[in-house]
Amino acid sequence: MDEDLKTIVKGKILQVADLPTLPTVLEELTSLMADPDASSEAIAKVISRDQVLSAKVLKMVNSPIYGFPGRISSIQHALVLLGFNVLRGIIISTSVFDMMVMSMKGLWEHSLGCATACNIIARRAGFEDPEEYAVAGLLHDLGKVVTAVQLPDLHDQIVSTVQSKEMTYFQAEKDVMGFGHDRINAWLARHWGLPPNIREAMARHHAPHLAEFYKPMSCVVHLGDFLVRLFEFGNSGDDQTAYLRPEALIELKFKMSDLDKVMDEMAEQFIEVSDVTF
C-alpha cells in the first residue's frame, strides 16, 4: 500500500511507548541502558520499585522457559543469571500484553510456547545463552499486539481478512496494510533500544534466510514459531502452519530427528508453561 498509510501506521504504533499503562520503569530502563556506567544494583533498584511488575517478572523468570525454574529469588539475582537484555525483554512483553485483555490471551500463550521452544532449540543447537533466544521468541509477535492496541480498526480488518480470504495472519496484514508485524517489530525493537540480535530475530522470524547479521537467532525463532503452531499451543491469529524454511534447519545443522527431540521436550514443558498466566 502507499507510503502515506505506512507513515500514519508507524506514527500510531510508536505512540504505544507513551501510553500511561506502560510502566514508567521501562522509560527509565531504556535511558539507564544508554549509560555504560549503570550498575546492576541501580537497574535492579529501578525495577524493584514497581512491586506489581517485579512480582510478574519474578514469576516469569522462574518458569522453565528460561532454564532456572523456581530458583531465582530476586530481581538482582535475575539480572546476574539472565542479564539485562532478557529482563528488559520480559518487562516489555508483559507490559504490552497487559494492555490486551482476554481477546489476545491465545497470542500470549503462543508467545510463551515459542519462547519455550526457542530455549530448547538453542540448547540443542549448542548455542550459548539460550535465555536470549527465549526472550526473542517471547517478543516475536509483539507487533501484532501493538497493532491491535493502537489500531483496532486495522486489526479488525486483518482478522476478517484471515477469515474471508483464507489467509495466514501475516498475509492478511500485508493485504490490509501493505506490510506485516515483522516490520512493526523492527520499529518497536529500535524504539525500545533492544539489542541488535533480538531486533533482527523479531524482524526476520518469517524470513530467516534474509537475516543479515544474526541468522542463527532468526532461524531459532522461525523454527520455534513453526513448532509451536504445530502443537497449536496458544493461538497466533490463524489456523495454518507457517512455511518452514529449509535454510533454517541447515543453518542450525538440524536433521528431522532433531525436531523429534525438540518436540518431546516441548510437550513436557508445555504442561508447566501453561501455568504462567497473569
Binding site: 504445530l230 495454518q240 502452519t241 512455511y243 525436531l259 501453561s274
Partner: protein
C-alpha cells in the same frame, strides 16, 4: 505426565511431581500413589492442581494436555495451503508420523491404566483402599 485439577484426581493415580505448598514445603513426594483419603487431605489443604503420571484425564480444548492422536489429525488442516509444495508435504508427513508414534504410545499407556483400574486389586493392594471402599 499431566497436570489435573484436584477434583479429577482418583485413587490409584501416581504423582509425577511432588506436591509443594506455596512456601516451598513439599507435602507429598513424587511417585506417591493417591488414595481417597490423601486426595481429601490435599483438598483440605487448598491444593488445587497436581501433576500425575500418564495422561489419565481427557480434558477439553487444545493446549497443555497434548493429545497426540488429535495433533496427527490436525496436520492436513494446518498444512492445507502447501499441498503442492514438495518440501512442505515432506515436512507434513514427517510430523504426522511423529504424532502417530506418540499417539500409539499414549494409547498403550492409557489401556494399561484402564486394565489396572478394572482388575480386582488382589496383589499388593493397599489396606487403606479396601477400608474405604464400600461394598
Amino acid at each position: 505426565m499431566q497436570k489435573i485439577p484436584i477434583d479429577l484426581a482418583r485413587s490409584g493415580m501416581k504423582l509425577a511431581r511432588p506436591v509443594v505448598k506455596e512456601g516451598g514445603m513439599t507435602i507429598m513426594a513424587e511417585g506417591m500413589e493417591l488414595t481417597d483419603s490423601l486426595i481429601a487431605r490435599l483438598q483440605n489443604m487448598k491444593i488445587d492442581r497436581i501433576t500425575v503420571q500418564g495422561h489419565p484425564v481427557e480434558m477439553g480444548g487444545a493446549g497443555a494436555g497434548t493429545k497426540y492422536a488429535e495433533r496427527m489429525e490436525r496436520m492436513s488442516v494446518l498444512f492445507r495451503r502447501y499441498g503442492e509444495d514438495k518440501w512442505m508435504v515432506r515436512v507434513r508427513d514427517r510430523m504426522a508420523q511423529y504424532f502417530k508414534i506418540k499417539a500409539a504410545a499414549q494409547e498403550a499407556r492409557q489401556k494399561a491404566m484402564e486394565s489396572m483400574e478394572t482388575e480386582p486389586d488382589e496383589h499388593g493392594g493397599s489396606g487403606e483402599n479396601t477400608m474405604e471402599t464400600e461394598a
